[in-house]
């Protein structure tokens, strides 16, 4: 069985940043279209089964309407929260899915990584200022996922272990393990509120696994003075404050502000940073976890994130293997779609 799993986060691409910046609105219709293209391409390219994450918006169901392939909506209770993604990823692991396609932002990929740490993953950006996922069309993603799931293309050739920030919080009687795939930020705020970190004056420090000047958001702070690429074997720590370089940073799309950096230093993989004091932790750009004044946060960058699939490389190998030739096709359009009468 060659199974492709698809996760679509219905909440991505609609947060407060659209009020204050020219960030893109990603409608449900756009997401449905991407998923539909991925399903069709997965079957076209040899997948024998597509597993879909259920969601409160019924995006996956709508995307699958009229497609006659072996499509299964996994049976998981819905919460309407990020835990739906975590549960689906875990289920995909149990079902031995060969490749996962996840639509959303950095946070969605983070949730996949929580549910299935070693997920073979194609992360498609439908969020606001994403670093971890990329702008990939569903057609290419579905095909690449299927070629990996069928074994036509080996993960050892196209999969690469990404990094993550491993986080432990000791706070009173609470002991919490969590992770970020791009950055962990310490925010001087009382509330998680509208989640997105928008006020530069509240950012105390950032630990980034990836920080490039080509990105937008918290990781771009370090990215503008000490770039760390996706595959570099290190991370970077920045502490904001007076006395250092003043850098123009796009904290949100199309929105530049000056941030003063008191300290910046590279982090070796596994090197621990310990921070104390009252804060709100922002994981991959979203305020998420309040920590009390007595709390202790330790974090380190590790090369233990999901296995990211290189879509373009996968398709090149498939082409070199003549997998796009007519005789290699696994289905026809007639096989793929049911007529309206059959629905």
């Amino acid at each position: 069985m060659s199974i492709v799993g698809i996760i679509v986060n219905p909440n991505a691409g609609k947060d407060i940043r659209r009020l204050v910046t020219p960030a893109t609105h990603t409608s449900d219709g756009t997401k449905v279209g991407i998923v539909r293209r991925a399903i069709v391409a997965a079957f076209e390219s040899g997948a024998t089964k597509v597993l879909l994450m259920p969601d409160r918006h019924r995006l996956s169901e709508k995307a699958a309407e009229g497609i006659a392939g072996n499509i299964v909506l996994v049976d998981e209770p819905l919460s309407g929260t990020r835990f739906d993604t975590i549960a689906a990823a875990r289920r995909f692991w149990k079902e031995q899915v060969g490749a996962v396609i996840a639509l959303g932002g950095d946070g969605t990929s983070r949730d996949v990584a929580i549910g299935w740490p070693d997920a073979p993953l194609i992360a498609i950006s439908t969020g606001t200022n994403n670093v971890y996922p990329s702008a990939i069309d569903g057609t290419s993603a579905g095909a690449a996922a299927a070629f990996v799931a069928t074994g036509v293309v080996s993960m050892s050739d196209v999969g690469r272990r990404s990094k993550r920030v491993v986080v432990r919080v000791e706070d009173g009687d609470k002991s919490i393990d969590d992770l970020a795939l791009v950055d962990l930020a310490f925010i001087n705020s009382m509330f998680t509120g509208a989640r997105a970190v928008r006020d530069p004056n509240t950012v105390k420090a950032v630990i980034a696994a990836v920080a490039t000047p080509a990105s937008t958001g918290l990781s771009s702070i370090a990215g503008r003075i000490h770039p760390v690429g996706r595959w570099d074997a290190c991370g970077v720590f920045v502490r904001l404050g007076e006395g250092g370089r003043k850098v123009r940073v796009p904290l949100a799309p199309g929105s530049f502000i000056t941030m003063e950096i008191a300290e910046v230093r590279p982090l070796e993989l596994g090197e621990e940073i310990t921070m104390t004091g009252k804060t709100i932790l922002a994981f991959d750009g979203e305020r998420d976890l309040p920590v009390s004044a007595d709390g202790v946060v330790t974090a380190r960058v590790e090369a233990s994130g999901p296995l990211l699939i290189d879509v373009e490389k996968t398709l090149v190998i498939a082409a070199q293997s003549q997998m796009f030739d007519e005789q290699a096709r696994h289905v026809t359009n007639k096989d793929l779609y049911t007529s309206p009468e059959e629905n």
Binding site: K14, L19, H25, R58, G193
Partner: protein, 327 residues
């Protein structure tokens, strides 16, 4: 953004005022002391409070059939509101309007509205007037998810964007239009997906989190005030009681489990917990606030009960306006 302790207490106070007014109104309705329909706002307090907490006194709002919360959050007077609900001559509409028609132009509250969807075009009119006056006033249209299936909403959204008016569309998406689940009447889930079609930004916030709502409201209002044009905020929220009244009337259109899950996210109690964790307030502070506002409610009930009904000779008075211009 101002999240001083004073601002936190202000937002909290608005929510508690709404909760206490609505709980009292519900009790009075159940004991047959209030005539007419009653649509309670309990559970949705964070939306009106978070939005109105971002407005000035001379900014305008339009409301819905579930309108008590909006007026309370804008500073409405308990005595006059309760008297109106009882149909007394000391009420906001001199006892002739009842629950769904209260307005207070001195607070910029242009009226609750018994017609679903009818408030949005009125807010557009106010926004047009505000733009014309050039004093930086903003209008907010409160409306429910169900009303966005009605033509008036679409005309309002289109005109607001075409004329680039200083308006915020504040959608209270509580998942049900009366007794019908949202997915039975809409092919989409998020109302903000409609905003883009008119050319305005739309954002989703947690409508059970007054800080999240307030953050978005401050940005949207400021945007409108500075000439940035319309925007939409969709607050995902939930009404704890029935579409109207308190009881379910035997209509089992949502599960007890669903209601219980949403009640765990009570916007007032979760906010109180967070304020205590942050060291901004103590439980004793909140006990005092609730006690003070309960006393205000009891005063309002007594005021309303002691007030006379309008006399028959008043039947045509204040029904039609003689005004030739808006305040």
């Amino acid at each position: 953004m101002d999240f001083s302790s004073a601002k936190q207490f202000d937002l909290h106070r608005r929510m508690v005022r709404i909760r206490l007014f609505e709980e009292a109104a519900g009790r009075l309705a159940e004991s047959n002391k209030l005539p007419g329909f009653l649509h309670l706002y309990v559970g949705e307090e964070a939306v009106a409070s978070g939005v109105c907490g971002a407005l000035n006194d001379d900014d305008h709002i339009t409301s819905t059939h579930r309108g008590h919360g909006h007026l309370v959050a804008k500073g409405g007077d308990f005595n006059r509101m309760m008297a109106e609900l009882m149909g007394k001559s000391t009420g906001y509409c001199k006892g002739k309007g009842g629950s769904m028609h209260i307005s207070d132009t001195s607070l910029g509250m242009l009226g609750a509205n018994g017609i679903v969807g009818a408030g949005s075009p009125i807010a557009v009119g106010a926004a047009f007037a505000n733009k014309y006056r050039g004093k930086g006033q903003v209008a907010v249209a409160f409306f429910g998810d169900g009303s966005t299936n009605i033509g008036a909403f679409h005309e309002a959204a289109n005109m607001a964007c075409a004329l680039h008016l200083p308006i915020v569309f504040a959608c209270e998406n509580n998942e049900y239009g009366e007794f019908t689940p949202r997915d039975k009447t809409m092919a989409i889930t998020d109302v903000v997906d409609r905003a883009a079609g008119y050319g305005m930004p739309g954002v989703i916030v947690d409508g059970m989190d007054v800080i999240a709502v307030h953050e978005a409201a401050v940005e949207a209002v400021e945007r409108a005030r500075q000439g940035g044009g319309p925007s939409m905020i969709e607050a995902k929220t939930y009404r704890f009681y029935n579409h109207h009244g308190v009881q379910n009337l035997g209509l089992k259109y949502r599960s007890d489990e669903e209601v219980a899950i949403w009640k765990q996210r009570d916007p007032i109690f979760t906010f109180e917990d967070r304020m205590i964790e942050n060291g901004v307030a103590t439980r004793a502070n909140f006990d005092d606030i609730w006690a003070e506002l309960r006393a205000d409610i009891e005063t309002a009930i007594q005021f309303a009960e002691d007030s006379p009904y309008p006399t028959p000779d008043q039947i045509m008075v204040n029904v039609y306006t003689s005004m030739t211009g808006a305040n």
